[in-house]
């Protein structure tokens, strides 16, 4: 079984540019989550999809962040325009069951550096 795949693994962009992160969850996993970890701090929740619907996007920092999950398969997270404080590791995770009762499967993350 393929795991959760994230692309790119690293991205360095200048302040004001746009970056799009992609996540391919495990096939059949309806629940898809985006998290972010900033240097040494907690893994902070951004948003949660159930299939193609946004279940909860309360963690999205501001309207510069836009997430989509067309067709309920892969998801993209776009940051436009990027700011310095957006730097961090963005993780995607998926689970089959509500509440993650089967555990979350994480991707390896995208390390975003805004300079």
């Amino acid at each position: 079984e393929a795991g959760v795949t994230q692309f790119p693994s690293h991205s360095v962009i200048e302040k004001g540019q746009t970056v799009t992160l992609r996540c391919d969850p495990i096939s059949g996993h309806d629940n898809l989550y985006w998290y972010r970890r900033v240097m040494g701090k907690e893994i902070k929740f951004l948003l949660h999809f159930v299939k193609e619907s946004k279940q909860d996007e309360s963690g999205m920092p501001n309207n510069r962040f836009l997430a989509e999950r067309t067709g309920g398969t892969y998801s993209t997270l776009k940051v436009q325009p990027a700011e310095l404080e957006d730097s961090g590791v963005y993780f995607c995770a998926s689970s089959q069951h509500r509440g993650g009762m089967d555990g979350y499967t994480f991707g390896s993350g995208t390390r975003l550096t805004v300079v």
Binding site: G3, V4, Y33, Y35, G40, K41, E42, I43, K44, F45, H48, Q55, D56, S58, F91, R98, G99, G100, M101, G103, Y104, T105, F106, G107, S108, G109
Partner: protein, 113 residues
Amino acid sequence: QQPVQSPQAVILREGEDAVINCSSSKALYSVHWYRQKHGEAPVFLMILLKGGEQKGHDKISASFNEKKQQSSLYLTASQLSYSGTYFCGTDQISSGSARQLTFGSGTQLTVLP
């Protein structure tokens, strides 16, 4: 609200034991434990559900005290492969129907030969 993990970091010699604690101010459906090695994806270790559950596999086990909203992860006779950052993730009852995990800041565990 973010659960509080302690300690923030611990250094062990191979074969020693360690305990990592996770405490929440919210009532919980469950507690998850994950381990992340540097540059890799966090890996699911186990989930503990309501009811004072205890679980374990190999020499890593955990307990969940639902009344105190606390969980502890026990690593016995630690191996070099146990090194990494351990995160607890809490599924809070107050989150309503959304049901996603809230993670602590992590505990960095280093096992030395």
